[in-house]
Amino acid sequence: MMKKKLVIIGSGPSGIVCALNVYKSGIKAEDILIIEREDELGGTLNLCIHQGFGKNELTGTEMASELSALVKKNNIPYLVGTTVISITKEKIITAVSPTLGYTKIQADAIVLATGCRERSRGGLSIGGTRPAGIASAGTVQRFVNIEGYLPGKKTVIIGSTDIALIIARRLSLEGGQVLFVCDTRAKPQAHKTDISECLDYFGTPLKLRTTVTRIFGKERVEAIEIADLDKDGKLIKGTKQKIECDSLVYSCGFLPEIELMQEVGIEIKKLTHGPKTDKRLETNVDGIFACGNARIIHDDVEDVMADGKRAGKGVSDYLWFLNKRDRIREEER
């Protein structure tokens, strides 16, 4: 079985920053391993072809390549196309990959930097049918930004998160028409500048206190029905209207990716849907740390990186103590 002092699961900004900080603290590069399920390092940054990441306003993909260049420069080992399917309290990691097969790795410490996943639209409870043409923001990003396909020509977007607005802009740029962006809230979730850059510039309306009540269409989306909400969030009678469109994109926010945490008994907080951690970002399971969006959903990539740095410090200290304890035990013997 492969042995490592530290295994970091996830190579998004928090995972890589964590690895770099642990390396800087004096742990040898060869004692670290980063495991990434996609075929490239960088995590969700690779889906983000828009600008605005970091101090230099890089695109997400540029930032991903800068970060992965640092990993490579420092010879920190990593596995791509490799998915961790379980971890244990004894810190045995089971991973699968087409090249490595079914692998087990023994680590002294684990950092979970698995990022987040989109909330499903299940909770939206929209009436009507479920035809083709309904997709989450993340799916649309992959289809448009990586594959080069449009999900629809006349799109309505649900949710006013920054990612929803960025998608509205992307679809407008790529030859689609965004009829409007709507949200049940009274105030948009994204910043004012995002609204002017992503919506106003393209003449895309933002409908607040508006809810989608029904989806029409047997095979593809043909129309939706929307209605206005009053200040208590209740439907205002007589405001329902049917709007023809061929696609619906939803962005209902994000949840920390906690799949691996639940099985190993890491305590999950109800409020954040993420793991409970202490000051140094260690979970209730000894030697297992969590950082970035896997711990709590952050708004900004710089906060995600700061979290990675904090976990890097925490896990370096943990490994230092472990090392010292082992040496003392050795001497006692």
């Binding site: 699968v96 299940g122 409870s125 929209i126 449009l150 593809r220």
Partner: protein
């Protein structure tokens, strides 16, 4: 092209049609299944409560009662043979007062007369021990240990795959619009659009549309089929411990009412309501309906976490005005068998319904000679075990044999590229995103395909050698994409 001729044609690839094909597939009989939809289990079989009812609901002496009890005993062995998830978790019908208790006693007596084994009425203490989350107002329950849960469409896939492996032909998008009977050569000609086949025997297993098939033939069923829609919610696996058994409330005239049940995949299913709809294809959900089932679920499990809903859906059931299954040879047309009015517990009864149909065919002259080379599994290679269900050593072997089993596509449900390619290459090919989803569970987890949908579409495109924009969600006009982006 020469018109193909069969011994038996089955109209409808729902659970009744596929189960019948499965039974016929063991014999030297040329059989075809004609399905209007794009896939097996496109209608009622796709969306229902997924319960193998024990058999205490149907009235003594009814065909429903007889076939339910027999069928529920046959499901287990078939599930085992074909690697279908089936869990004999038992069911509890909950009573809140003396009036309910009276009704539970009636069900107990009825169940015993129907031949259901192990039935008993239990009191509050034991009920709470078995179901800690059940309402404090629940005082009694009828416990049926023989009840179970199954994935209805997986059962239909399994039996259809096995029958296809054993030579049964499947025709999809075959919406029968003409049936002619030639009295001279005693053959039925069954057409759909420009397609035609001939058959000596015909089974009408068209579910919601079985009355229309009878009419196309020139026959008439002695009852009406009323489409009743039932809406459902599915909860995240995190809530899997909400219920250990299928929990019903004491039934009323309206039906068995709203239930809360575990599923074989570890989720919790809540529903259904029962509303008569105009269109048999109306599988839309309504916000009123979802509130109705939410309320129903809370009356059974007050603290049920409905924030954990991952999806909502609806199915339409074929309710016969006669109240019982109708399975018999047409009085007007020889060797034409109607299997109509199959509503709940049709899933539980399905193997027994198939047996019953086989007997009718035998009595009207069809010869059943066993095949020497009958294949017992889904495909000649085995039962298409998913990576998720494999043991550690099986996983290791699978990746060594095909590295695509090492490529994780759906993280929520642990579905690999190998699973998806296998589903696409099975005898009834999964060539749409939804077909792959229901066969492999890719996209059925808590992110509902947010992460894997695009990847699944890419794998389908690659396997079928088509462009991603040609990949469909479920039917011929349900493309998931509408074309290329503006490119430089």
């Amino acid at each position: 092209m020469a018109i193909k001729s069969y011994d038996v044609a089955i109209i409808g690839a729902g659970i009744v049609g596929t189960m019948t094909a499965f039974m016929i597939g063991k014999y030297k009989i040329k059989c075809a299944v004609l399905e209007a939809g794009i896939d097996v289990a496109s209608g009622t079989t796709r969306a229902n409560s997924a319960i193998i009812h024990a058999g205490y609901d149907a009235h003594e002496g009814s065909l429903k009662a007889k076939l339910n009890v027999r069928g529920s005993r046959l499901v287990g062995p078939i599930a085992k043979q074909l690697g279908v998830h089936y869990n004999k978790c038992g069911s509890l019908v909950i009573g809140y007062n003396e009036k309910d208790l009276e009704h539970l006693r009636l069900l107990l007596v009825r169940g015993k007369k129907n031949g259901v084994r192990g039935l008993e009425i239990i009191e509050q203490d034991r009920l709470r021990e078995m179901e800690p989350n059940v309402s404090k107002d629940a005082k009694y329950a009828l416990y049926a240990p023989s009840a179970g849960i199954v994935c209805p469409y997986d059962l239909a896939y399994a039996v259809s795959e096995n029958s296809a492996t054993n030579g049964v032909d499947y025709y999809f998008e075959y919406k029968v619009d003409k049936i002619d009977y030639n009295e001279v050569n005693k053959l039925y000609t069954i057409s759909a659009n420009d397609k035609t086949i001939k058959a000596k025997y015909v089974v009408n297993a068209a579910g919601l549309y079985s009355d229309e098939i009878a009419e196309i033939l020139g026959d008439k069923l002695p009852f009406k089929i009323i489409p009743r829609r039932g809406e459902y919610m599915l909860l995240d696996k995190s809530e899997g411990k909400t219920a250990n058994h299928t929990l019903f409330v004491t039934p009323s005239e309206k039906g068995k009412g709203i239930l809360v049940s575990p599923t074989v995949d570890g989720n919790i299913i809540v529903g259904p309501n029962a509303n008569v709809v105009e269109s048999k294809a109306d599988t839309g959900v309504t916000s009123e309906g979802l509130s109705e089932i939410a309320e129903g679920a809370r009356s059974i499990v007050p603290d049920i976490n409905l924030d954990a809903i991952i999806t909502t859906f609806a199915g339409v059931r074929a309710t016969p005005t006669s109240g019982d299954f109708y399975i018999r040879e047409s009085e007007k047309f020889p060797k034409f068998v109607h299997a109509a009015g199959i509503e709940s517990p049709g899933l539980a009864a399905s193997p027994a319904i198939a047996e019953y149909i086989v007997n009718i065919l035998r009595n009207s002259g069809l010869k059943f000679k066993e095949k020497e080379d009958y294949i017992t599994t889904r495909t000649a290679e085995g039962n298409c075990k998913l990576f998720y269900d494999m043991s550690e050593s099986e996983r290791e072997k699978a990746i060594k044999k095909d590295p695509r089993y090492g490529k994780m596509v759906c993280r929520c449900e642990m579905v690999t590229e190998g699973d998806i390619v296998n589903a696409i290459r099975r005898p009834i090919s999964a060539h749409t995103v939804d077909m792959v989803k229901r066969r492999t569970r890719a996209g059925m987890g808590r992110c509902q395909g947010g992460y894997c949908r695009a990847k699944v579409a890419e794998i389908i495109a690659k396997e079928l050698n088509i462009s991603v924009s040609e990949v469909k969600k479920f039917s011929s006009n349900s493309n998931i994409l509408c074309g290329r982006t503006k490119r430089i």
